[in-house]
């Protein structure tokens, strides 16, 4: 899975993802930050494609770009205008320090790990993924879905107003 095109694509995607990630932090306008976030998600999806994991790539685009950012957009729209802009700079210095520390730790770990390398990557198809999810790992999969359902119900309960609850109590 290497070649000239793949290399070029990797570097382009890396640049896009990193620049967009930086844009999320730097951008003062909250909406611009969300748009940068979308770009970086798309870049990540591109990485998955390069790793021959098309299903994950498509899921990344559908879930992160199609659904999660839309939810973030809703959150932005429901934010009062005064607190909408990214003007909080008091935490810039501590944040920077923390980021540097984290980066150092990561670099250290990456450098010191004995990476297990295989010469030929196993070709995982979508069918294999399906078999794994609904065969071997069916219990964790189902537990995750129950968790998500619980989260859904909880979210609905949180947003109910007092009047609605009174109405339901009557019914």
């Amino acid at each position: 899975m290497d070649g000239f095109g793949v290399t070029v694509a990797f570097w382009i995607l890396a640049a896009v993802t990193l620049v967009a990630g930086g844009g999320v932090m730097v951008s003062r306008n909250l909406l611009h930050a969300v748009l940068f976030l979308i770009l970086s998600f798309i870049g990540v999806a591109g990485f998955f494609v390069l790793l021959s994991a098309e299903f994950i790539a498509m899921a990344q685009v559908i879930i992160y770009v199609g659904a999660i950012t839309v939810l973030i957009l809703f959150a932005v729209l429901l934010t009062p205008r005064a607190s909408r802009d990214n003007s909080e700079t008091v935490w810039a210095l501590p944040g920077m320090l923390l980021a540097v520390c984290l980066a150092a730790i990561f670099l250290f770990v990456v450098h010191d790990t004995q990476w297990k390398t295989v010469t030929d990557a196993p070709l995982l198809t979508t069918q294999d993924l399906g078999h794994a999810l609904l065969g071997t790992w069916v219990l964790p999969f189902e537990i995750a879905s129950v968790l998500l359902t619980a989260a859904l119900v909880g979210a609905i309960m949180l947003t109910r107003s007092a009047e609605e609850e009174a109405e339901d109590a009557l019914a």
């Binding site: 429901l78 009062p80 947003t159 107003s161 007092a162």
Partner: protein, 369 residues
């Protein structure tokens, strides 16, 4: 954050340049999300002060002004004004003149309702199709007006004492053709719209007017009848010999936009019936009483009213024996029908406000005069 998410209401201007305000009318709506919490009407963009202008001109010269108030039903406006002037001066109209006036007023009602129904369907989002079909039928009626009076929109056809010209020979076959075409067309509109689930869910229960509010807010015409009040000046206070014709008053069920729509469609059927009868029994004889051009009615006042397509169109004239009316007041139906706009729109969404405005069937020329 506790409790519900708070939202700030903001003001949105529906109009004066908006596809659905039927002219330069403006609703200054305060919305909370999509919900209208307050609606304020802003009008006057088309104000020409006709009532003042009319005080400077003779009674006959004022007829063209009436064309330009409600420009979608100029014949009815001519008729209302002429009736008021005749009442003031005590002039009798010959039988043929009356019959021609009835035919013209009913044709005008058909044309105007075509426009109202089509534009209303357009407001609910039926993209142009109903309005185009309505235009097609309206064109035929406007052709009749053109043959008769020389003008299509501002006809200036009625005169004090009768009508301006006698009917042309081509008139009767043209009207017969329209009368044959219209009932199938109304059927078609009903198939397209009244049976349509989307249309029904958009209009039913929207802009509900209780009969009490409709009466108290001085509404008239299809707005009043949609609320279940059987009141039609052609029946209640017949003019031009409407008592000779057999027709019914359609009334609605619960006073929503849908009821006003079906009332208008049914009124078109009834108009066809009236024109049929008037055309069959069209008397011969003079079509106009001779009236001096510079009419000087005796001192007094007169209030004459007709059932225009939009409702009760009244003209209140005061004479001081001069050649021009001392006071010339129009009771514009679509202006007064707007009285209940706020009550009908508040609580609904912006889309509902548009539907309600469409169901009132306003003509801005008449609102602003």
């Amino acid at each position: 954050m506790t409790g519900v998410i708070k939202s700030e209401p903001f003001v949105i201007n529906i109009g004066p340049q908006h596809p659905s305000t039927h002219g330069v009318f403006r609703i200054r709506a305060t919305v909370d999300g999509e919900k209208v919490v307050d609606a304020e009407m802003v009008m006057g963009y088309l104000h020409r002060s006709m009532e003042k202008l009319a005080e400077e001109r003779t009674y006959t010269q004022n007829i063209p002004f009436t064309d330009r108030t409600d420009y979608l039903s100029s014949m009815s406006n001519n008729l209302g004004y002429c009736l008021a002037a005749e009442k003031l001066a005590g002039i009798e109209v010959p039988a043929r003149g009356d019959a021609i006036r009835v035919i013209m007023a009913e044709l005008q009602r058909l044309a105007s309702h075509c426009m109202a129904v089509g534009a209303f369907a357009n407001d609910t989002g039926a993209w142009q199709t109903p309005v185009m079909w309505c235009f097609r039928e309206r064109e035929k009626i406007l052709d009749i007006f053109e043959v008769t009076s020389g003008a299509r929109l501002t006809c200036n056809y009625m005169r004090i004492g009768g009508v301006a010209f006698d009917l042309r020979p081509a008139f009767e076959p043209m009207v017969r053709k329209v009368l044959a075409d219209l009932p199938p067309f109304i059927e078609e509109m009903e198939q397209l719209l009244t049976g349509n689930e989307i249309f029904v869910s958009r209009t039913r229960g929207i802009g509900v007017l209780s009969p009490e509010l409709a009466t108290n807010a001085s509404l008239s015409g299809p707005m009043l009848r949609g609320s279940g009040i059987a009141w039609d000046l052609r029946k209640a206070d017949p003019y031009c010999g409407y008592e000779q014709y057999d027709f019914d008053i359609p009334i609605g069920y619960q006073g929503d936009s849908y009821d006003r729509f079906i009332v208008r469609l049914e009124e078109m059927r009834q108009s066809v019936k009236i024109i049929q009868q008037a055309l069959d029994g069209l008397p011969s004889g003079p079509f106009r009483t001779e009236v001096p051009l510079a009419l000087r009615p005796q001192k007094g006042e007169a209030y004459a009213r007709i059932e225009s397509p939009r409702g009760e169109l009244g003209y209140y004239l005061v004479s001081d024996e001069g050649p021009a009316p001392y006071r010339f007041h129009i009771r514009p139906p679509s202006f007064i029908n707007l009285s209940a706009l706020k009550e009908m729109t508040v609580g609904g969404t912006v889309a509902d406000a548009i539907v309600v405005l469409g169901s009132i069937d306003i003509v801005v020329g008449e609102i602003d005069r």
